[in-house]
Structure formats: C-alpha cells, structure tokens
C-alpha cells in the first residue's frame, strides 16, 4: 500500500528541504517546469485528483477556469486553505507540521499550472507550531531558489507568504477566506463569479486545500496512471482518514480511497473501547450526516459515502458510542456552528441559534414534541441553496441524520423530561 503523502513523516519532526529532497522532493517541480502550464493541468486532470477539503471538486477542472496567457488579469493568486477548523478534523495539521516542503512544492507546481505569481498559505490561528515550521520551510525554499524570481532557472516567478487567520470557521469557505485575506469581514461572496475569475483582490485565484496541494508533487513525479493505480476505487489516490471518539486507537492514517469504513474502524482504529457499542459516526467531519452500523461496509470514496446518504468530507470521522448522548453531541455541534456563523444571511444567523436553544432545552429535559417539528423544519429551511454559503446546510447534516436515525433518543428526552444518558 502506497502512502506518498505521509510515508516520510516522523512524529514530532518535520522534513527539512534537504531531507525532503532525499525522498524525491522537488523532482515533480522540475518535471512540471519542463511542461507547459496547460500540460500540468492536464496531468492533474488525468490523475483524477479531487479537492480534499470536503467538497471533492476535480482539481484540474477547477484550475482550467483560470484565464491563462498574456491577456489574463494580473497578478493571479494561489491560496492554500489551511484553516482547518472543522470539529474532529486534524489531517492538514499533520501535513503542515510533518512535511511542509511537500505543500510548498505542490503550491509552486499548482501556481505554475495557473500562471499565478503570488501565493498565500492561509493557516488556522491555532496552528502555532505549523506556522513556525512553514516560516522556516519558506526561508529554506527561498534560499534554494525554489521561490521568488526565476525559479530553478525556468523564468517562472512565484512568491509565497504565510498568513495566519484570526480564527473563524467560516474562513474555511474559500470566498470568506479571500475576504479575510483581504482584511475584510469573513463573509462569503456570491458565486458566480467564481474565484477562478474574480478572487483575491478581484483577480483570478485558486483556493486549494492543503491535502489537495500536497498530492500534486507526487502526481507530477509519478504520473497520472500511477496516481490512479494506488486507490481501490474510481476516485484516484490516497486520502488521510482520521478517527476520533471512544475507539481503542484514535488516529490518522493515509489510506487508499475506496477502503471500507469497517476496515478503517476495526483494523486501524481498533474498534470500540471495551464495554461500548458502536452507534454511529460522522464520516467526514462535523458537517456530514451520521452513518450507522448498517453502513459499515461502504467504500470510503466520494460516491460510496454519498450513496449512503452522507459525504466523504474531510475524511475525519467522529464516532458515537452507545453511552454518549446523541442529543448532547448534536447540541454541541450546533453550538459550534451557531457561534461560527458569520451573520451575513438570515437563515444561518437566526436559524442556528434557535436550533441550538431547542437542543439545549431537549437535553435539559424541557423540550416539547413540537420542538422536533421545528427542528425538522429548520433542516429544510437551512437546506443547500437556501442559505448564502454551505455553513448552515453543513450544520443541518448531523442534525437531520440524527433525527432520522436516533429520533427515539430525542423523544425519550422529551418524555422523560431529562437526559437518559446522565445519571
């Protein structure tokens, strides 16, 4: 099994430029610089790389919307989205802290592919260690002529900067990220126009997830066919999968796409802790629908999880056990989402606090059966397309699936006027 992204990462350390080179680092870049930008795009397209931030949009296709050539607006930008704030998600952190040059190489290649001259790594505020490591790695890359003017004698110029966020979940939404990067309120922007044509400072911009960009050097170095071959699925490549919750061995692993959920849970996460039963899980972070034990044999790829009624999302799962109150868990999540609403559109701004208050009331034993109707109505009102951006629809995913699979638990709270999971 190939683990191109993580095989060289050693816990607690990071690969310096020299160490990264020894692993074949910056070879992909050299190859890329001999190709035309269009050819690089084609390679990534052919490899079938899809966005690893949650939405799964084909990366090469996304790049292809950027205007190329001498008439394109300038400067163009490439932004790495490292604002990893989805509850339960910690995959990009490993890549940043463990192998920063892999990201930097991925960014240089990607920037070359879209002819961008300026890049930003937009990093979650809490990743202090990651920030230090990136700063060091950037300095190394500049010293080695891998960044700045005329990279490796190719004539290609690319400057890369680190920007640490002020700490809002909404900055993970690419257009809110761009506003934040511009120094404005982190409100999402309307789409269309997409950032590919009007992005950072109104110029063509690509925003890619850290993990997505970290894949790019390997695709260039080893080719699209190789990338297709390392997965167990139609979806190419590997994915970082994480498991948190009361399992025996919570952690993060790079695994081929298409591996089954059962394998990850049982072989890698070691199954449930003694005395606990598996009840369900959020497969791709807090903003995905619950799956239950009926879904354990699904393939973990974009299609497989979607068919089961959820999303692959970030691939980082939160496991729910039978001794944990699902109402309390969902309430916690909705508290987070309500707090992280940017306040721009009404359904999100007003709907999430109300949702949280109802869940609190149910959890505390003061809920009413009618509250479940309001919650069900909320999941419809805050559905995709009804809100300005996907934050609130994402927030509705754990709620709507909890109501679907665990309605009994909600009703017990209301009937017993207390939380049955609390002694």
């Amino acid at each position: 099994m190939e683990r191109p992204l993580t095989q060289h990462i050693r816990p607690g350390e990071y690969l310096t430029a020299a160490e990264y080179r020894k692993t074949g680092g910056y070879e992909g870049l050299k190859k890329a610089l001999k190709m035309t930008p269009k050819e690089v795009q084609e390679t990534v397209k052919r490899a079938g790389l899809r966005g690893r931030g949650g939405a799964g949009f084909p990366t090469g296709l996304k790049w292809s919307f950027v205007p190329l050539g001498p008439d394109a607006p300038r400067p163009k930008y490439l932004v790495a989205n490292g604002d990893e704030m989805e509850p339960g998600t910690f995959k990009d952190r490993l890549l940043i802290e463990g192998n920063p040059h892999q990201l930097i190489e991925g960014m240089i290649i990607s920037a070359y592919a879209i002819e961008a001259e300026i890049g930003y790594i937009f990093l979650r505020w809490a990743y202090k260690k990651g920030a230090q490591i990136i700063e060091k790695a950037l300095a190394e890359a500049y010293d080695a002529g891998l960044l700045g003017k005329n990279i490796l004698g190719s004539g290609f110029n690319f400057d890369l900067y680190l920007h640490t966020s002020a700490g809002r979940y909404i900055c993970g939404e690419e257009t809110a990220l761009l506003n934040s990067l511009e120094g404005k309120r982190a409100n999402p922007r309307p789409k269309p126009p997409f950032p590919q044509t009007s992005g950072l400072f109104g110029k063509p911009t690509i925003v890619n997830n850290i993990e997505t960009l970290s894949n790019v050097p390997h695709i260039l170095r080893n080719g699209a066919d190789w990338y297709q071959s390392i997965s167990l699925s139609e979806d190419a490549g590997t994915k970082l999968f994480g498991v948190s919750g009361k399992v025996k061995n919570p952690g993060l692993w790079e695994l081929p796409l298409g591996i089954t959920l059962r394998e990850v849970l049982e072989e890698y996460a070691g199954g449930m802790r003694d005395g606990l039963q598996f009840k369900g899980l959020l497969p791709g972070g807090a903003s995905t629908d619950f799956l239950t034990k009926d879904h354990l044999d699904i393939k973990l790829d974009y299609e497989g999880v979607a068919e089961a009624g959820s999303r692959l999302g970030t691939g980082t799962m939160i496991v729910l056990d039978d001794k944990t109150c699902v109402v309390g868990m969902v309430r916690n999540l909705e508290h987070f989402f309500a707090q992280e609403s940017c306040g721009w559109c009404t359904p999100c701004r007003e709907g999430l606090p109300w949702t949280e208050k109802i869940l609190t009331s149910i959890e505390n034993g003061t809920g009413k059966m009618e509250d479940l109707d309001i919650l069900a109505g909320m999941t419809k009102t805050l559905a995709p397309g009804n809100t300005f951006c996907p934050l609130a629809p994402g927030a509705m995913e754990p709620l709507q699936s909890a109501l679907k699979y665990f309605r009994e638990d909600f009703e017990r709270h209301i009937k017993e006027k207390r939380c049955p999971w609390r002694s």
Binding site: P190, S341, C342, W344, E350, W354, T381
Partner: protein, 898 residues
C-alpha cells in the same frame, strides 16, 4: 425583450435587471429586505425566494433568491408555489426571532417595511420562546436615533453609508446573531447623507431624531410634494405637517434630480418654518412707539393705498430664495426698471455667466442624477459636499462608471453588487478635484490640486489648451501643473462621457470661463462633454432669468434717484452686502416694506412687515442649477394672514389698480402672467398639473385615507368640525377627500399602496423600478441647454497667484451645516455649525495665537485660527455664511494680527 413565465403566465420583459426587480416592475409582490434599487443585490436576507424550474417538464423546481437571478429568455418561475411560500414564511419567522415587537412605541410603526414583509410573507404566531439577544444603543448625533434591538441585519445601512455614500465612521461589527451596526464608539455621524439611513433601514433602528421631537404617525401627517430650498440643486422632498407645524422632511423620488436620496441639510434643515422667529401677523412700526406692532390685514392694504395715492415710487428687491411667481409679482408691481435681483453684484455676475455657459457652450447639461453616468470627472473649485451636497453623492457614483466596464465585459451583472465590489475593489475612474483645500471627495480622486481660485482657473485653461492648441495658452505654469493638465486632458479625451463640474461658490468667474474653455476645446476634438455648474441658491437661476440687475445697482439707483418706498421680498440684505452699505440703502427710503416669514436684521429695519409663508405654506416654482423648473406645493393652510408673496402682492396691486388688465387670483393666473412677460419661460406651466387637474373628477388629497382625529382636533375651540380650507391654486385638497389611488409624479405626496405602508411602496409608483414615475414630470427645463456651436474661447487668463507680505488672499470656504442662511435654525444644524474661524497654511501662522484679529474689507473681527498644510501659502480660508462672519465681498485681501 425576452419571454419569461411566472406562475403559468407569460410576460415580455427586458433582461436587464435581476429577477426580483423585474417582478416588482411587473407589480408582482415579492418580499425583500437587503435589495435596494440604487444599491443592487447582495443576497443576504433570503426573503425574496422564488421557485425556478429547469423547463416545462420540471414540476419540482428549486428555490432561488430572485435578487440574485439574472432574467433569461424562457425562464420559468413561481412566486406562489406552496413550498417557496412556506420557505418565505419560515424566513420571516427567523428574522423576527430577535425583533422586540415594540411597534407601538417605535417611530417606524405604520410605515415599517418589516411590518409589511412580515404580513406579506405570512408570519403570525411566534414559536420562538427563548431569550432575545439585546444590544446597547449609541448616540449618533443630533439627527439619527439608534435602537439596535430592532435590527434584522439586512446590511442596507452599512452598504448605503460606506459603499454608496463613502462614509468611514460607521460599520458592521461582531458576527453571528450578534452583528452590530453603528460606530466604533458613540458620536456624531460624519457623513452628510446619514439621514437616508432612516429611509433605507427597513425597520426602526435608525429613525429621525428631529421628527421624534414632534412625532406623528405617517397616517396623521398632511403631506405635499415640495422642493428643497437649501441649495441650488432642487432636490425633491415631501414635507409632512400636523397641528400647524412641519414634522419632517423625507426624500421624494425624482429619477432626473435626486433619485432616492437627499442630504442631511435638506432633510433636517427645515425647522425655521416652525421657529419662534416666524412672522405670522402683519407688523407696522408705530409712529408713537417706534416699535413694530401687530396690525390687521386691512392696515396693510391701507398702508399701500396711501402710497399709491401719493403716486409713490417703489423700488423692489427680489430674492433667489423666493419663487419665480413671487419675484415676478413684485416686478409687475414696481415695474421692470425698478426691480432688482436681490443678490450682490458678484453673485449675479457669476450666476449670469454660469447661465450663459449653460446656454451657449458646446457642452450638454446633464441632470443631477445623469451626472452619475459620467466616466471622467473634473471638479473645478467647488467643494460640492458643502455647496451642493447631493452632487457629491452623484459624483461618487460616477467615479465607479469607468470601472464598471470590467464586470460588464466579464458578464457579471452590475446589479450583483457584492460580486462587482469584489472584482473592482477600490478601483475608481479618472476623477480630479481642484479646490483650495481638502474636500470629502478626495478619497476617490485620481489627483487633487490645491490652489487659490485664480490658479485653478489657470490650470483649467491649461487643460483646454492641451486639448486644443487653439485655446489660449497659459504662461508660467510649473512642471507639475503642466503634467497635471496633460493628465486631465488625456483622460478627458479618452472619456466616453466627460463631465466638468464647477460653480459660483469661489466667487471667481474665471473658473467658470476655464470650465467653458475645456468644453469648447473638447468639442473641437469631436467630444461633447457634460457641464454641471452649481449656483448660489435655490432659485438663483430663476431670479437671474427674470432680472439681471443686482443689489449694488439698486444701491446706486436708490441713492441717485428719488424713491419713496422699498419693498424687500423674502430676503435679508445684510447677508448680501456689507452692513454699512445696507444701512445706507435702507436710509434712503421713507418706507421700508419687507415681505418675509422670518425675523432677520432686514425685517428689524422695516416700517411694514407683510407675513408671507415659507415654502411649506406656499406654492410656487423654482428653477434649479440645471435650468429645471420645479413646482413646490403648500403643505397646509396656515391661516388668513400668511399668504404667498405673490398673493399678497396681487391683492395689493388690485388696491392700486395695477395690472388691472390681468386676472391675478390664483397660482395659475400668476404663471400665465409670468409666461406672458417671459415667453421663454413657457415650460414653467408644464412643470406640474394646474389647479384644474382632476383624477376621476376628484382632487388629490394631502391627507391619507387613514388620517385620524379631524373631527376632534379643533374640538377644544369649537365642537363643530371647521369647514376645510379651499385650495384654489393646486389640484390638491387639504383633507383626506379625493382620489387616493396612484397620482402623477409631480403631485405625489406620499408612497402608500395596499400592503405597502413603508416608503418601499415607491416601487408601485414607478413605471419600472428605478425608472420614472407614472404620469410623472420630473420638472421641465426652461432653458434650451443643448450643445451649441459657435461659442468662442474666453481669452482672459488670470495672473498666477503671488503671495503677499502681511496680506492674505481670502478664499471662501463652505460648511454644509452653517453656511446656509435658514437651515441653521434647526437646533441640530446649529450644533454642528463650526464657530467662525480663519484657515491658514501652517507656514503662515508663525507668531499667531489661537485667536487672531482679522481685517476683512473695512472691519475687524476676532476669529479662531485653524491650521492646515493643504491650503496654499498666502491664502486665508474664510467660512462664509457662518453666523458672525458677516457679508464679505470677494475677492478680498485681508490682514491678520495677534
């Protein structure tokens, strides 16, 4: 035209607007909050949801926000689909979760867009049963009241204040359901258009503080369409009255002039009409007491009859603040030779020069709102924010004209405001501000030039010469001036629609000549520019069209010829000429008769005061700076003794058998007489419907269908309801009787439509949203201002300014609050008026203290010294019009000591 299908019905529409605006133009009710026709779509409130279907086979459809949808051919949508109706009901329920429901104590109650939309969207019973979020309110100055708990976070306020009006001291703070709209700390809102927050806010967060002091519900206001008197732009306003006092002014939509908005001086500067200084009864100076004593109307007529019997010679002084009809009436009474425009020689000369340029130059004259379509702007001299405030708002929009070509090229609709904003960032078109000191448009300027008026005029001439070498050449320019002239010239030549803005405020006609020369030069290069010139006062143009003789001539004539009586019309001469000159002028007459509504230093000298109504109590026509005649209508009947000046003068003329061949009873008679004497002003008649106009045989009511209390308002005086006053002058009634349906634009006195109680009802009165009013006349141009051939270059080029030892060149400075004569009677305006001061370049202030003695003309005043690095050395900024500054004759050299 494209065909779209709405709820099964086909419509032909222009695919230029977003779907919401298109639906509203089709008069289909769709609720909304965040969208505004002047500010575009942002998609934040989600209230305007409709269903959109992929094709005829699609029965499920999907919910879309109509404000964010372009209109495309073959589009199929539903407003009434049950699912989307439920969505809108859920949305308003969410919107209302934190709203305090304090309508009974809220000033917005009864004209609240939130109330309208709540009802329209079908939300009745509250299911939210938790605590509401609360906010602290801020002190925002004397004009705007803040009540944040009512906020529904539609973001309109911040979009208007910052993005549209360019304000910086107001913003949205915090996030999630704690978003807060206000200032970073308590304090006076710094933007000149802050009052529009009252109208753009869909609920009662921002309300009119002055209205609050004498509050009345919308339905209890008697309203009439009128024209702002506070500068020369002639913005359209609605004034509302109850119990004999004006309660508030709101903007009145005029697609040619002010659009949706008005400035704060226009909105709040009306309190003089309610002032204790009002003259409500005739006053005659008692022979024994020497004091002004109240007399009856008969005494007034007797006074004149005696004069007529003696064949007294009258000298009449008109006013640029009085209507055409009033000025003309006085002119008829005293005779053309004895009538003088009531402005000083400089003002009149400048006004005439401006009118000459407007009429004869090869430039076209846009209306105020049309200036928003200019893509290159050059401002010569005028600090428009302070002299013609709404022009600043329009020019701010013009600065976006050129950049807006980019989204159009990228197929991003310009109504998609957030997308356009992100694309354009701070991009502005070529915009040049040439003024003596800082202005509030500097933030959008490509380049500024800070010089005294004569040097600005020289630069303008240099621009003209650069564009067309045939234009007179300017010598002794610095290299940077040459570079700037070239930059401006190139941009003007490169423009699709260049605009040259200038005006009379710097009291320097070479500036106007410079503006004209640029226009002539551009025409020689096959470009027809726009020229927009501001004038001193509300009816300066109208007065100058009636008479070209000025006050200084009146002074000469009064002293050289024998006159018995002076009649001053709605004017305070002490603001126009130096005190000793006015004293001398008044001393020349045995009888000084003043027609005015407000006590002032001139009325203090009168032998007879005839009480006339201010604009809110009278009818008449004003001509604004672009030659547009606009009618203003009396709001309420003020009682017997207060009449229009023209009516008083008509009745007085009748006593003296003057003008006996003419019928002079009502407004239409006076307009007919005016046109007879001035056939070139015939368009005045068309500015608004005449008194005989009826809809379905009925008059147009000034009171709403919900007006309350009419049988009891006077009950403490007489239990019988008094007979309502007649209005012989207009097609309007003073009561609620009459046609309550849609009315022609020029007589539309309120926006109110079934289901639409707020000002948003305006949508129903426009032919299409953002366009003209139904049957509406946006006034009539009285002048032919089309581009003309044949005007030749003004050849006189001023000398370059040379600073003098111990002598400073006075440069007029203006303040939106303070420089204007009457608005200062509003308490809030007075509060924001600066103390008189003198502005000097820092380098000129050595050895001077905080207070300095300033010798202006022949008098010495003590003024606070303000310092700047911007005003050129050797110049001294003098804030004209401020109380205690006195009349100053420009150009003036002043001496400063101490």
């Amino acid at each position: 035209m494209v065909k779209i299908n709405i709820d099964g019905k086909d419509y032909e529409v222009e695919p230029k607007d977003n779907l919401l605006q298109t639906l509203l133009s089709l008069k289909i009710d769709v609720p909304y909050f965040c969208w505004h026709p002047a500010m575009g779509s942002v998609g934040s409130c989600r209230q305007c949801a409709v269903k959109k279907y992929a094709d005829e086979k699609d029965t499920k459809g999907r919910i879309v926000m109509s404000c964010m949808e372009p209109v495309v051919d073959g589009m199929r949508i539903s407003v009434d689909d049950p699912e989307v109706k439920q969505f809108r009901a859920n949305l308003i329920e969410l919107t209302m979760t934190d709203h305090p429901h304090d309508c009974p104590v809220c000033d917005e109650g009864g004209e609240c867009h939130l109330q309208d939309v709540t009802l329209m969207s079908g939300h009745n019973y509250r299911r939210y049963e938790y605590n509401k979020r609360t906010h602290k309110n801020q002190y925002l100055g004397p004009f705007i009241n803040h009540e944040m708990n009512r906020c529904i976070a539609c973001y309109r306020c911040v979009r208007f204040y910052r993005d549209y009006a360019g304000g910086r001291d107001f913003n949205v703070f915090a996030s999630r359901n704690r978003v807060y709209f206000g200032r970073y700390e308590d304090g006076v809102l710094q933007n000149e258009f802050s009052g529009n927050l009252v109208e753009v806010c869909p609920t009662g967060v921002f309300t009119d503080k002055i209205f609050k002091e004498h509050y009345t519900r919308k339905w209890d206001l008697t309203t009439a369409p009128t024209i702002c008197q506070n500068c020369s732009l002639g913005c359209n306003i609605i004034a509302g009255e109850r119990y004999g006092t004006i309660r508030r002014i709101t903007s009145r939509y005029n697609e040619k002039v002010n659009g949706y908005f008005i400035c704060d001086r226009g909105r709040f500067g009306y309190e003089y009409v309610n002032s204790d200084l009002r003259l409500r009864e005739p006053l005659r100076r008692g022979q024994a007491s020497g004091q002004l004593e109240e007399v009856d109307q008969k005494t007034v007529f007797n006074y004149f009859e005696k004069l007529f019997k003696k064949n007294a010679r009258f000298l009449g002084i008109g006013s640029p603040r009085a209507s055409l009809e009033a000025n003309h009436a006085l002119q008829m009474m005293v005779g053309k030779d004895n009538f003088f425009a009531g402005v000083n020689e400089v003002d009149q000369r400048l006004t005439l020069k401006a009118l000459q340029i407007l009429r004869e130059s090869p430039a076209e004259v846009p209306s105020l709102r049309e200036t928003e379509n200019a893509d290159v702007v050059v401002v010569l001299g005028e600090d428009v924010t302070n002299t013609a405030p709404m022009l600043a708002l329009s020019l701010r929009q013009a600065s976006r004209k050129r950049p807006l070509e980019l989204p159009e090229k990228m197929h991003i609709p310009t109504w998609n405001e957030r997308a356009v904003d992100e694309l354009l960032q701070d991009e502005r078109g070529p915009f040049f501000v040439l003024t003596p000191t800082e202005t509030k448009l500097d933030d959008i300027a490509t380049a500024t030039y800070r010089q005294v008026p004569q040097n600005i005029a020289r630069l303008a001439q240099a621009v003209a010469h650069y564009i067309d070498p045939e234009a007179p050449e300017v010598s002794a320019l610095t290299d940077s001036e040459k570079a700037l002239a070239k930059q401006i010239g190139d941009e003007l030549l490169n423009a699709k629609q260049p605009l040259i803005v200038s005006g009379t405020s710097l009291q320097d006609e070479t500036l106007l000549e410079g503006a004209a020369n640029i226009a002539i030069a551009l025409k020689k290069r096959q470009k027809t520019p726009w020229i927009f010139l501001t004038l001193p006062e509300a009816n300066s143009a109208g007065l100058a069209l009636l008479d070209e003789k000025n006050l200084n001539m009146a002074f000469e004539k009064a002293l050289s010829e024998k006159y018995d009586a002076l009649i001053v019309l709605e004017n305070d001469l002490y603001r126009r000429l130096e005190t000793d000159k006015v004293d001398k002028l008044l001393d020349a007459f045995e009888h000084i008769i003043v027609l005015h509504y407000l006590q002032n230093p001139t009325t203090d000298k009168a032998n007879l005061i005839v009480p006339v109504g201010p604009f809110t109590e009278t009818d008449g026509t004003m001509v604004n700076n672009e030659g547009r005649a606009q009618r203003y209508f009396q709001v309420f009947y003020p009682g017997d003794t207060i009449k229009e000046s023209w009516r008083w003068l008509g009745q007085i003329m009748a006593k003296g058998n003057l003008q006996k061949e003419r019928t002079l009873n009502n407004l239409d008679d006076f307009i007919d007489a005016l046109i007879q004497d001035y056939p070139q002003l015939s368009a005045v008649k068309d500015a608004a419907p005449d008194a005989s106009f009826r809809i379905a045989g009925q008059k147009i009511p000034r009171q709403s269908h919900r007006y309350s209390g009419r049988t009891s308002m006077q009950a403490h005086i007489n239990v019988s309801e008094p007979k309502p006053p007649e209005d012989p002058d207009t097609p309007m009634s003073f009561t609620m009787e009459g046609y309550q349906g849609p009315q022609p634009g020029a007589v539309l006195s309120r926006y109110w439509y079934p289901g639409w109680n707020s000002v948003q009802a305006l949508n129903k009165f426009q032919i299409e949203v953002g366009g003209g009013l139904h049957d509406g006349k946006p006034g009539e141009r009285v002048l032919d201002l089309s581009a003309k051939e044949g005007m030749s270059y003004f050849t006189q080029i001023p000398e370059p300014f040379a600073a003098q030892e111990n002598n400073f060149l006075g440069v007029p400075l203006y303040h939106i609050f303070g420089s204007e004569e009457l608005s200062i009677h509003t308490k809030g305006v007075a509060e924001l008026t600066p103390k008189p001061y003198i502005l000097l370049n820092e380098a000129d202030t050595e050895g001077l203290g905080d207070q300095v003695k300033v010798q202006i003309n022949d008098r010495t005043v003590e003024l606070e010294l303000r310092k700047t690095t911007v005003l050129p050395k050797g110049a001294a900024g003098l804030p004209v019009g401020l109380p205690d500054m006195g009349a100053i004759k420009f150009p003036v050299w002043i001496k400063i000591s101490g």
